[in-house]
């Protein structure tokens, strides 16, 4: 049995760490201060350098 990991913050960085760990089969507890995850990136219209939609 592997140990669990706590991730603090659900922006792009926290989401990516959580997914990487979860895909390795590790149990992750992701906590976010605000009512939903997404962080600043969710507020962006599009992102450089590809101008793809942020969410």
């Amino acid at each position: 049995m592997s140990k669990d990991i706590l991730v603090i913050g659900g922006g792009i960085a926290g989401m990516q760490s959580s997914l990487d760990l979860a895909d390795m089969g590790i149990k992750v507890h992701l906590i976010e201060k605000l009512p939903s995850i997404g962080g600043k990136m969710a507020q962006l219209d599009k992102t450089f350098p590809t101008n793809d939609c942020a969410i």
Binding site: M1, L6, G9, G11, I12, G25, I26, I37, F48, I55
Partner: protein
């Protein structure tokens, strides 16, 4: 975001903060506070019927205060989880007034005004901090007159104006114009109400108010108490409709902002605040100018900066493309001051360092490329976790172990560590995950060693 919400190995605890951390790497005992949403997570379907009926309007933080949400809300439309939350500072019911409209509306019976914060205890092997950054408050630079001049906005506010799901539906409506439109709406509501009262009197006396009022002012109906009341009501009505008509006339001339200025290094590369470069703001100004020009092709943008830092794969090409195809002019110079000209147009006063001349130029809107600042609660969080911060309150790391904090078993990634863009944040996130996984798998690795 969806993948995070759905992954069987991720327990997502939103609206939750760390209260206490004890122990050490491989064995941390963590106490969390799951804040009361006053909505049962397992019942709420996120349908939003409650938010539609809620009578309380609150400035919407997700839209940087450029729009309104209800006191019961989802943080943003596609937010995960979609569970709604009652804002305890603004909800009428939670502040002792009679309301509860949301509870009456909710078909799932998810509203629970009695809900309390819950304490959760966990045992974890490692911790990753990905608490991000705050937008530098540009009102600390008084010469830029942020909040004094309505059409001086921050880059993140501009992102919300560009967004089709934002408060203007993606139109570059200027804040000063939006304020006038909001005033028109409020006055129209008032005028409608006072007109209703006048309608009754007009019917009673069988005469339009304006015609009656002319006679009344000429001295007719001297001792008629009822007509005096009518005259007073009509005079009050005029104090609403006259300014209303004036504002409406003014609003006819409103168009979207087409002459844009972007001011770089607001708070960064500035020894009064953050002496270092935030790394991503040159690029997001170019991006915002490009998108604005895609919306309205005649839009022109001037980017004022000491130099444009386009350090990253494909970034320099992006900058050149902006200049060639998106009507962007790059001006080398630091902006000294922003003042307000006619029609609420901000005027940028700057030194063109190539020509060594002080110049001034008028724009429809000015966008401030604000520095990446540490989050407000960082000192408290660092204390709870027992980690050190650097001189600027980002989380301390060392160049050869860029995701390790000063405490073993606690890692960091993204802008909590230092300013960085999305690709870098993602790369650091994967590194931090890898470092944490080494600890998570430790018992198994040791078992394998023992067997071998």
């Amino acid at each position: 975001m969806l993948d995070v919400g759905r992954h069987p190995n991720i327990e997502l605890l939103a609206y939750t903060e760390v209260e206490k951390v004890e122990g050490e790497a491989e064995n941390f005992k963590v106490t969390l506070r799951r804040k009361a949403r006053y909505v049962e997570e397992d019942r709420c379907t996120g349908c939003g019927a409650c938010a539609e009926k809620c009578p309380t309007a609150v400035p919407d933080a997700f839209n940087e205060g450029l729009g309104y949400r209800s006191a019961i809300y989802s943080y943003f439309a596609q937010g995960i989880p979609s569970t709604h939350t009652i804002d305890p500072d603004h909800c009428r019911q939670l502040n002792g007034k009679k309301c509860g409209i949301c509870a009456k509306t909710c078909q799932a019976e998810a509203i629970n005004f009695e809900q309390k914060d819950r304490i959760i205890e966990l045992n974890v092997g490692a911790i990753i901090i990905a608490a991000g950054y705050d937008i530098f408050d540009p009102s600390l630079i008084p010469e830029y007159r942020y909040r004094e001049i309505a059409n001086v906005v921050t880059a993140i506010e501009f992102e919300r104006l560009l967004s089709a799901s934002g408060p203007t539906g993606g139109h570059m409506d200027r804040p000063s114009d939006r304020a006038v439109e909001a005033e028109i709406e409020a006055l129209e509501k008032k005028a409608k109400k006072s007109q209703k009262a006048l309608d009754k009197l007009e019917k009673k006396f069988d005469e339009p108010s304006a015609a009656f009022y002319r006679k009344y002012q000429a001295g007719e109906y001297k001792d008629d108490e009822d007509r005096k009341k009518w005259a007073d009501k009509y005079a009050a009505h005029l104090t609403v409709t006259e300014p209303l008509e004036e504002l409406k006339k003014k609003a006819e001339a409103f168009t979207v902002a087409k002459r844009l200025a972007f001011i770089q290094c607001v708070g960064s590369r500035d020894f009064r605040f953050y002496p270092f470069c935030s790394g991503y703001c040159c690029m997001h100004s170019i991006k915002e100018a490009m998108i604005a020009q895609e919306h309205v092709p005649e839009t022109t943008s001037t980017i004022f900066g000491m130099d444009i830092r386009a350090v990253g794969k494909g970034f320099e090409e992006y900058k050149i493309r902006g200049g060639n195809n998106s009507n962007i002019t790059y001006v080398r110079g630091r902006v000294a001051e922003i003042t307000e000209g006619p029609d609420n147009n901000p005027v940028v006063i700057y030194e063109d360092t190539r020509e060594r001349k002080v110049k001034r130029q008028e724009f429809d809107m000015v966008v401030l490329a604000t520095a990446c600042a540490p989050i407000k609660g960082i000192a408290g969080l660092a204390k709870t976790l027992g980690i050190e911060l650097d001189n600027y309150n980002f989380i301390k790391t060392s160049p050869l172990s860029p995701v390790d904090t000063t405490t073993p078993g606690i890692f960091v990634c993204g802008c909590a560590e230092s300013p960085m863009d999305v690709p870098e944040s993602v790369a650091q996130a994967s590194s931090a995950a890898e470092r944490a996984a080494e600890i998570a798998f430790q018992p198994e690795l040791e078992k394998e060693k023992a067997v071998a």
